[in-house]
């Protein structure tokens, strides 16, 4: 059948998408690769020169880059398990039969955090976690906790907001996975055992795995490029305590104007993201 379709038709259907992808995705990527191989500082454009892999070497031997990377993965390692645990709990509650109206309202309300603009979340955080006037300290009985100016507290605050914003996403994905479990299979399992854990582990979990892998990939990519919320909330501070990798790239590229070095950082980040996504798929993903 495929051979009977004229090539022109194939190109007509696929061409626009390929051209669109090339223009908005591949061309900038190639430009970033080109930039990363040059000394390319926006304020010194007269000095643009090919320097081979020097920018990559600078990045790979830069302690600050790896510290930022470490902070990013620490955030991922703390926030993501919390999001999955809380998201699974919410999904299981919403999967229970009955209370249709309440569950519908709950599902709708889950969308709200995700719909909130990242930068606005950061600004909200600035107000709510203000040491003197913030509602958080008021709710803690008038506590005098310095959230934004203390490195550990600032990091905890970022974790809180990330969990607040993205747990609903995980919950909705897992809820979708739970609805994929055939009713008769789940019902039969419940007749076999009273253990909810056994049902979850052997009946529901296989259906959740594709969603979980998607969550892992998306949340990993999101965390690696987490910028807006942190920028408006702490701007990477105090010190460098919340300077995640994307903030560092922005700082180098748009505040130091060293686009070559920032491009090298971004390319390395891209490679790490792709490798992680492949690992997730190979290790966790299984067809049901």
């Amino acid at each position: 059948m495929r051979g009977q379709v004229p090539r022109k038709t194939i190109f007509a259907f696929i061409g626009p998408a390929v051209i669109g992808l090339a223009v908005v995705g591949i061309a900038p990527l190639l430009y970033a690769v080109w930039t990363s191989l040059h000394f390319y500082n926006l304020t010194k454009l007269r000095r643009v020169e090919f320097i081979g892999l020097e920018n990559y070497w600078t990045v790979l031997t830069d302690e600050a880059f790896w510290q930022a990377m470490g902070r990013t993965f620490f955030l991922l390692g703390t926030a993501l398990p919390l999001q999955i645990a809380l998201g699974l709990g919410i999904a299981l509650v919403l999967h229970q039969p009955g209370l249709t109206l309440v569950k519908t309202l709950a599902r709708l309300s889950l969308v709200l955090p995700m719909a909130t603009t990242y930068a606005v979340v950061g600004l909200l955080g600035q107000v709510m976690f203000n040491q003197k006037f913030g509602v958080v300290n008021q709710l803690l009985g008038g506590a005098d906790i310095n959230w934004i100016g203390d490195p550990e507290n600032a990091f905890a605050m970022i974790i809180f907001w990330d969990v607040w914003q993205w747990t609903p996403f995980v919950a909705l994905v897992l809820l979708a996975g739970l609805t994929m479990v055939p009713g008769e299979v789940e019902e039969a399992a419940r007749l076999e055992t009273k253990s909810k854990w056994t049902v979850l582990r052997y009946v529901q979990l296989p259906f959740l795995l594709p969603g979980l892998v998607a969550v892992l990939i998306l949340r990993t990519a999101d965390t690696l490029k987490l910028f807006d919320m942190v920028f408006t909330l702490t701007r990477g501070g105090p010190g460098a305590s919340t300077e995640f990798i994307s903030l560092m790239i922005q700082r180098v590229g748009f505040r130091g104007f060293d686009q070559g070095l920032a491009s090298a950082q971004a390319i390395i980040l891209l490679i790490i993201t792709i490798v992680l996504a492949q690992i997730y798929i190979r290790v966790f993903y299984k067809e049901v």
Partner: protein
């Protein structure tokens, strides 16, 4: 009839003076000079600060007089450099460059702005004979608008660091005036004023330009330190620089917790709420702290020059000039020059001041009736004692300030000692300067 004629004459004169359009003895008028450029639109970046609101409020008079439209693009300070760099690199629309004093080397070396003399030679009919460039405070003109002995921009939004103090809190603690020296502030005022949830002092130290300019540099200079020595090597390990940086660490016990998260807004707010007795802030924030709408202590606010250190006062110096962009076409350049000249003119300085701006014209501060502007004597004194290279103004500053911001904050948090932090900043700063060609002799040692 005579009275009516006099009244009409006075009103007409006042109106003309207000717009700076008064034809002088040379027969020059803004209206005539602008006639060839009527209908031209001039694009300029403004900040969200009182000085810009002041000139914006005065703008209708200029536009009506000249037919030139000023298109203002507003940005917070932190975005202003990036937006302008991207615009100039890509040959964008900006016709005027708004230049912080630490950007002047960058803008001049990249030839994004035209030297003032070149503009005046190009458009001789646009030059107001009453421009009187010598009327600008020399320090301010040199630091904000000059680079390598060439004037590019005219000082527009002008700051000096001043000490804002809460007279009521000081009197309650038994002081009849502010501290004269930094040492006195720490040793005498600090313990007496830090109690019951109130603090003696707040030094805005957020990790952005505030950390470099308002916090780090502020303690270097009065103690005799500096970023660089005469050979452009780091001077941060010198005894004087270290004394200043260590002083900041010691002073932190009299500041609110989390001072490293305080930007201008938080600091001014803490002062205006009566939580902090003294702050060293830019003159531009005067209107905020004396307005009952934004300040609980409006009646208690007094202004003094910044305290002295062992090396003298050396107050913080900051501010912006406006310069004609080289990328603009000829009509836009002429129109831009007319606007800059008008906005910074002697004729408009008083109105600019009264609307919340801080002009850099010496003449306006000699006028009568400035009693309401308590900051004027301290400001004028500060502009005699300031150092143009308070922060180096060369093109490499954007890279160096990032290093200072990171390690300066780490020092304050106690993550590194002042020696370790200064060593790290010095090493990295020298790498940037070496890469730029200062040590090989490719670039003149100008800051």
């Amino acid at each position: 009839m005579k009275n009516l004629r006099n009244l009409c004459y006075s009103a007409a004169l006042a109106g003309a003076m207000a717009t700076g359009a008064a034809a002088d003895g040379h027969g020059w008028s803004l209206k005539d000079a602008a006639a060839p450029y009527a209908g031209t639109t001039v694009d300029v970046v403004f900040l969200l600060r009182p000085g810009y609101e002041a000139i914006e409020a005065m703008l209708p008079a200029f536009e009506e007089e000249t037919g030139i439209k000023i298109n203002i693009i507003k940005h917070p300070y932190e975005n202003a450099l990036g937006e302008q760099v991207r615009d100039f690199v890509s040959g964008g629309d900006l016709d005027i460059a708004l230049i912080d004093l630490v950007w002047i080397g960058n803008f001049a070396e990249n030839e994004w702005v035209l030297p003032l003399e070149e503009v005046q030679a190009k458009f001789p009919d646009a030059v107001d004979p009453d421009l009187d460039i010598d009327d600008f405070f020399p320090l301010v003109l040199n630091a904000f608008g000059g680079w390598n002995d060439t004037v590019y921009g005219l000082p527009f939004d002008n700051y000096s660091g001043l000490m804002f103090y809460n007279r009521c809190m000081l009197e309650e603690a038994g002081f009849d005036g502010p501290p004269e020296t930094w040492q006195e502030l720490k040793d005498v005022y600090g313990p007496a004023l830090t109690k019951d949830g109130k603090y003696a002092f707040a030094l805005q130290s957020k990790r952005n330009e505030t950390q470099s300019a308002d916090s780090f540099a502020r303690v270097l200079w009065p103690f005799g330190g500096s970023f660089l020595d005469a050979d452009f090597k780091s001077n941060l390990m010198s005894e004087e620089s270290q004394a200043g940086l260590q002083f900041r660490q010691d002073l932190m016990q009299y500041m609110p917790d989390g001072i490293v998260a305080y930007d201008h807004a938080e600091t001014v707010n803490a002062f205006a709420q009566g939580d902090v007795a003294m702050i060293t802030e830019w003159s531009a924030f005067y209107s905020s702290v004396v307005s009952p709408d934004t300040s609980k202590i409006a009646d208690c606010v007094e202004i003094a020059p910044e305290p002295k250190g062992p090396a003298g006062r050396k107050p913080a110096l900051g501010g912006f000039s406006l310069a004609v962009a080289s990328q603009a076409d000829e009509d836009e350049q002429a129109a831009a020059y007319l606007f800059i000249q008008w906005a910074t003119s002697k004729a408009n300085a008083r109105e600019y001041l009264e609307r919340g701006g801080v002009p850099a014209r010496q003449s306006v501060y000699t006028e009568d009736g400035l009693e309401d502007f308590k900051f004027v004597p301290a400001l004028v004194e500060s502009w005699q004692d300031g150092v143009p290279e308070f922060r180096p103004r060369f093109a490499e500053w954007p890279e160096i300030t990032e290093i200072v911001q990171e390690w300066g904050t780490k020092m304050m948090l106690g993550e590194v000692t002042t020696e370790e932090g200064a060593q790290e900043i010095g090493t990295r700063m020298e790498e940037v300067l070496e890469d730029a060609g200062y040590y090989s002799g490719d670039k003149r040692l100008a800051q």
